[in-house]
Symmetry: none
Subunit: 402 residues, 2 copies
């Protein structure tokens, strides 16, 4: 049985509050075999003190060896099995720029590309990585394209990347990508993988045809490909599954977007941890559950900047007392995936987990770090186990069976 | 989703090499509660040094409490869920004697048995455990049997056991066994469990009829039963699933056979670890992945010979520097299943795992043994997790989802 379905059946109400504190890309690696990870190296007196009255464990986002993107990483944290629930690349790209997708939309990630004007074959799939300013200029040109019976939105992202959204009744996904994933061949047409999507495929092909005419003189960006054409997935709603009034606090559009996809209220906040804590305080009484997202651990990891990642963790640590002063009943501190500075990318490594509540089996002299968590009383779990554990510790699940 | 299917989708190429170093039946038990396991008692300075720069964990072959045979044990190591992919007993028995099975074959394990000539009931299912020389003599007599339209192969195994293989177009499996698993009743006929197998069932029954006529005067081996009638399973090919040029180095026929079943190249080698290491060195440049199998840990465990098992482990340890000198990117050291000398048989106990790569979270002062592995940063995993972890550590998997 799907975790979510069971939890939905067992949920009960309680006057308790849960904080899911996510440091994006938290899990790390030592730079040398005898060294410490970013989290272990960080001076985190407040997290360490909390660790000594909490359960510790390691959590695997999907299964061992699998590196999640941000979508699957967060779905897992929210209790949705990422292998059963998937978010299309076009949808994530739109969420990442804060585009407010509706159920009528089909979103695609667009890539400007270079094409040989004689033969029509792709010569560079990223159009020489044109600067973002050029991307913005080209997108403005493409905004002139109209299609019968649907609204068309084109938005720049970064470098050679843009987002295309068609909005209208009866649009369907089940559409193939146009990027052949190699050069020397022409782009593919959008094709329907099921009959209901044929009309939508024709609309995307018509858009591409007009776009290529407009871009003809714009070398190196004289072509465009579409990837990950998808509708918003029909996810069970988080507040309904768990019976939690749920607020999301995140500084980056993609994480606000994923939270909105699962039905959380996205709370207005600023651009740093201090603002996020202030937002938490302001909304404390209005919600039972807070998704609190810290982005810069991941950015530092992707930059390969061990020290910068340590610093973000230390900054979060300095705000922890303000969060604990609000008297949450359950606090889970972890990440959506690892981003070790040594690997410079998302990785597959299990995440340290700290679960604070009154109902735990703490380890004396523990600290919050990967190695102490590996020896902790929660043992090795999966991301989809975290919400059931948080709910149980919050007294919000009745027993299963008589 | 099936692990293999997901891995097949996420695999990417890299210039990295993986060694899967299997000591058959490696996992052990202390002889007394305060004692050490075979691996812990062995003096393994090289494995211990490697352990201090590696991830350690415990791996369960199938699920807790389940003791695997050699087939399921190795399928799990190779990433095939042994509950979804099964190798028939007849096929394994044929592989065990080095019989070169084709896709046209149905293989059965044969057991000589004793029958009452008056009533036709079985009086001893193992024919008084006749010596292997008698088995060879009887098999030679049975080689005279011919059947219409198929080739017939009979090969001796050991004691009362033999292998029967029918080879021909349109042979099908889905066949019942003739051994009633008790004495005092007659053998059962081979029956088809699906209509396509009826012709094949009739051929096996015809063979049995002729065999019993030939054996009539050969008491105590005046009858024969067939078990585990099966075709070669249609397994996804390991080199294709993982995108790895894959070589197998093993001294025993069954392990070479299982490796061949999943599509690995089986490399010629000698009869000891020294020869296997030499084979590894000779083929180092030609492959991305090596399955390196050491048999005698299992044999010593089955003999209940604790000291002999310790000695095999120490011998492998002495060759480890030669393997590491080849500069593998990822090395996994474990076993297919446990064979504790105290238990004298395959067992269900989890296996110690050492995973060496540059991207690990080592434990200082670790050693390679069951108890240190239980506290390691890999935690408790399953055999089917080992290949995804090896692939990830080798930089051969892209991330899942955007």
């Amino acid at each position: 049985m799907d975790h979510l379905k069971l939890i939905g059946q067992l949920k009960t109400s309680a006057q308790t509050k849960i904080v899911l504190l996510i440091m994006d890309g938290l899990g790390g690696l030592p730079l040398t075999p005898d060294g410490q990870t970013e989290l272990e190296a960080a001076k985190t007196p407040n997290l360490d003190a909390l660790a000594r009255i909490s359960d510790l464990g390691l959590s695997t986002p999907i299964f061992p060896g699998i590196t999640p993107g941000s979508g699957p990483g967060h779905l897992g944290l929210f209790g949705y099995d990422p292998l059963n629930y998937q978010i299309g690349r076009g949808v994530l790209e739109a969420l990442g720029i804060g585009f407010d997708l509706t159920r009528l939309d089909v979103a695609a990630r667009g890539n400007f590309c270079s094409m040989d004007p004689e033969t029509g074959v792709i010569t560079d799939r990223r159009a020489g990585r044109i600067p973002t300013e050029t991307c913005v200029k080209l997108v403005n040109m493409l905004r002139g394209i109209t299609l019968p019976g649907v609204e068309v939105f084109v938005e720049p992202v970064e470098d050679y990347r843009f987002v295309l959204v068609l909005r209208g009744e009866h649009l369907e996904d089940g559409l193939t990508e146009t990027d052949p994933q190699k050069t020397g061949v022409p782009p593919l047409p959008v094709e329907a993988t099921r009959p209901e999507a044929e009309k939508t495929a024709a609309l995307f092909n018509e858009w591409l045809s007009q776009a290529r005419a407009i871009l003809a003189d714009q070398r190196p960006a004289n072509g465009a490909n579409l990837r990950g054409l998808a509708k918003v997935p029909n996810l069970p709603l988080f507040p309904e599954v768990y019976g939690l009034r749920s607020g999301a606090i995140a500084t980056y559009p993609m994480y606000r977007g994923v939270a909105r996809l699962v039905g959380m209220d996205v709370l207005e906040t600023g651009h740093d941890i201090a603002s996020e804590v202030e937002t938490l305080r302001q909304h404390w009484d209005g919600y039972d559950f807070f998704f609190f997202h810290v982005k810069k651990t991941d950015s530092a990891g992707e930059d390969g900047n061990f020290e910068a990642k340590v610093h973000v963790i230390e900054e979060l640590d300095s705000f922890l007392p303000q969060i604990m002063d609000l008297k949450p009943d359950v606090v889970v501190v972890t990440g959506d995936h690892s981003t070790p500075a040594k690997w410079k990318n998302h990785s597959w490594h299990a995440l340290p987990v700290l679960l604070y509540s009154q109902y735990v089996r703490p380890t004396p002299q523990a600290a919050y770090g990967e190695r102490p968590c590996a020896a902790g009383s929660l043992g090795q779990i999966r991301h989809i186990d975290l919400m059931p554990l948080a709910m149980a510790n919050a007294g919000r699940l009745v027993k299963f069976g008589a």
